[in-house]
């Protein structure tokens, strides 16, 4: 469990100091496989299903789910990315900056969009993502897949596919990476 520099974390960045490993990388892989199967099961196949990874943490997870779906169903699901910075409700309250690219080239009208993120917390990112998606067409349904649901919701939002439900304290921090899921605190440099 290595300490990790998080230079872009608000307000001035800091060092993520992990306290415990919650999921190993093998656990994450298994959870993604299960979630991929759940997505197929829920939608009765993958017709008109599109994965959209939320920048930045959700993007690699969306790619991995698409990879698993390609193996088990032999279907290449379209994958997009979405940066919700411009749709946040805390613009002006704290620094909000676009971090990475939005790349949704397809019209979402009539499609089932599965939003993919790493951690679900207050739900405000998802709220912003829902608003953003509506600018790309009227999706038939939007579903939410997250690796970790850590609670503390501030909006009536719930995930459809969850890797792990993880009770946390508000001030704690959850870090999802290729090494697995860590829980810890952000400390000053």
């Amino acid at each position: 469990m290595a300490e990790r520099e998080r230079s872009h974390t608000r307000p001035k960045g800091g060092v993520f100091v992990p306290h415990a490993q919650v999921l190993s990388s093998a656990d994450v892989a298994r959870a993604l496989t299960r979630m991929a199967h759940e997505i197929v099961e829920r939608n009765g196949g993958l017709d008109e299903v599109i994965l959209v990874g939320l920048q930045t943490g959700g993007v690699p997870l969306a790619d991995r789910i698409a990879g698993i779906l390609a193996q088990v169903e032999s279907v290449q699901v379209p994958v997009g990315t979405l940066d919700v910075a411009f749709y946040r409700d805390d613009i002006g309250l704290r620094p909000v900056l676009p971090e990475a690219a939005t790349d949704i080239t397809m019209d979402l009208t009539g499609q089932v969009v599965v939003l993919v993120d790493d951690v679900l917390f207050t739900g405000r990112t998802v709220r912003a993502a829902l608003n953003a998606l509506s600018d790309f067409g009227r999706a038939r349904a939007v579903q939410l897949a997250v690796m970790v649901d850590r609670g503390h919701r501030e909006l009536p939002i719930r995930p459809d596919f969850v890797g792990k439900n993880l009770p946390t304290r508000r001030e704690e921090m959850v870090d999802v990476s290729e090494e697995g899921v860590l829980i810890g605190m952000l400390e000053d440099r």
């Binding site: 900056l97 690219a101 790349d103 999802v176 290729e178 952000l186």
Partner: protein, 349 residues
């Protein structure tokens, strides 16, 4: 890969501080320019969407205060503000109380008293936006061109456009190039430099990004002193043009009396214009920019304006994304200015 851990954890801190006002490229430095170019890429993506509008600055009010005529800059700023969902108020001298003799200070105070968040100021006097910024109690001020001094957003969109073209040629994302593509780039600025605020901003911006800037102009249209300018001066346009990666043309500013600085327009065009003959001396990859409005037949031949490497239309398109980035960085990363006095809310029974 970073986890969206704390809600706050997903939100990056600004990499360079920008603001509270944008008066000069010199306020930004390398990091500020790089940050504006980076954020502008995100807004260029917004512009390519079916619905090119985001709710980012909803409820904010942007006023354009133009004490001097303009088409593209005003339209560009207003489009940018509207695509960010800000409300836009438009002020022009000819229809305002300035005609009745109101002073700049009183105008600014009046506008600000209406709860304006940002004033975009164009004025024929150098330094007017800086003066407005000193008077402003709560609004941000953006310089949209002041006299012979500066026109910062024009220089930013020039840099943005040059990077975009260079990225396309390499088949890469402009964001990936960062500012490295400007290192050692040879930029030639041609024409009425004396009266050009665009040239002043461009010199500062290109220089901050590591490009080498050369000025070429008739002696009468060079500034009275170039001391401290990080530039070289060439006297032979034909010799300089072949070595340039970017040729930035400037308009001969008749309204600032440029006409009396050259013997005749025809002579100016023959010596200093980008004529068809001279365009053949351009390298195959040389990018030609012009801030507009172009006077075809004077500083640029009509056919040259249509060449593939002439990016004038693209500059106009990119101007919107760059101005969106400037507005967003000035307004979106700071808390809304507090009103002078806290509003008193009656306590509930």
């Amino acid at each position: 890969m970073s986890g969206t851990a704390l809600e706050a954890g997903s939100i990056p801190a600004p990499r360079a501080s920008i603001g509270p006002h944008l008066l000069s490229i010199a306020d930004l430095g390398h990091d500020g320019i790089a940050e504006i170019l980076r954020v502008a890429e995100a807004f260029a993506e917004v512009e390519r969407r079916a619905i090119p509008k985001v709710p980012t600055l909803r409820g904010r009010v942007v006023a354009t205060l133009f004490f001097e005529e303009s088409t593209r800059t005003r339209l560009s700023f207003e489009t940018a503000a509207k695509r960010l969902s800000a409300d836009v108020l438009s002020f022009s001298v000819s229809t305002s109380s300035v005609k009745k003799g109101e002073s700049l200070r009183d105008t600014v105070e009046t506008v600000e008293a209406m709860g304006i968040d940002t004033m975009i100021v164009r004025h024929s006097s150098a330094g007017a936006p800086a003066q407005v910024a000193r008077w402003a109690k709560r609004s941000r001020v953006i310089n949209a061109g002041d006299g012979w001094h500066e026109h910062p957003t024009q220089a930013l969109l020039d840099c943005f456009t040059v990077r975009q073209v260079l990225a396309e040629r390499q088949g890469r994302d402009p964001g990936e190039l960062g500012t490295g593509c400007f290192e050692g780039l040879s930029v030639l600025i041609v024409g009425d430099i004396r009266h050009s605020r665009v040239a002043r901003s461009a010199v500062l911006a290109y220089n901050a990004l590591g490009a080498r800037v050369t000025l070429v102009a008739p002696g009468s249209l060079l500034p009275p002193s170039l001391e401290g300018w990080p530039v070289e001066v060439a006297t032979d346009l034909d010799a300089a043009i072949g070595r340039a990666d970017v040729v930035s043309l400037l308009r001969l500013q008749a309204e600032r009396g440029s006409g009396s600085f050259v013997p005749s327009l025809r002579e100016y065009t023959a010596e200093w214009g980008l004529t068809n003959e001279r365009a053949r001396l351009l390298g195959p990859d040389t990018i030609v920019t012009h801030p507009g409005p172009m006077v075809r037949g004077v500083e640029i031949a009509a056919d040259v304006a249509e060449l593939a490497n002439t990016v004038v239309t693209r500059q106009v398109t990119n101007g919107v994304a760059v101005r969106m980035a400037v507005l967003f960085l000035l307004l979106g990363t700071d808390p809304p200015a507090a009103p002078d006095e806290p509003r008193k809310v009656p306590a509930h029974g």
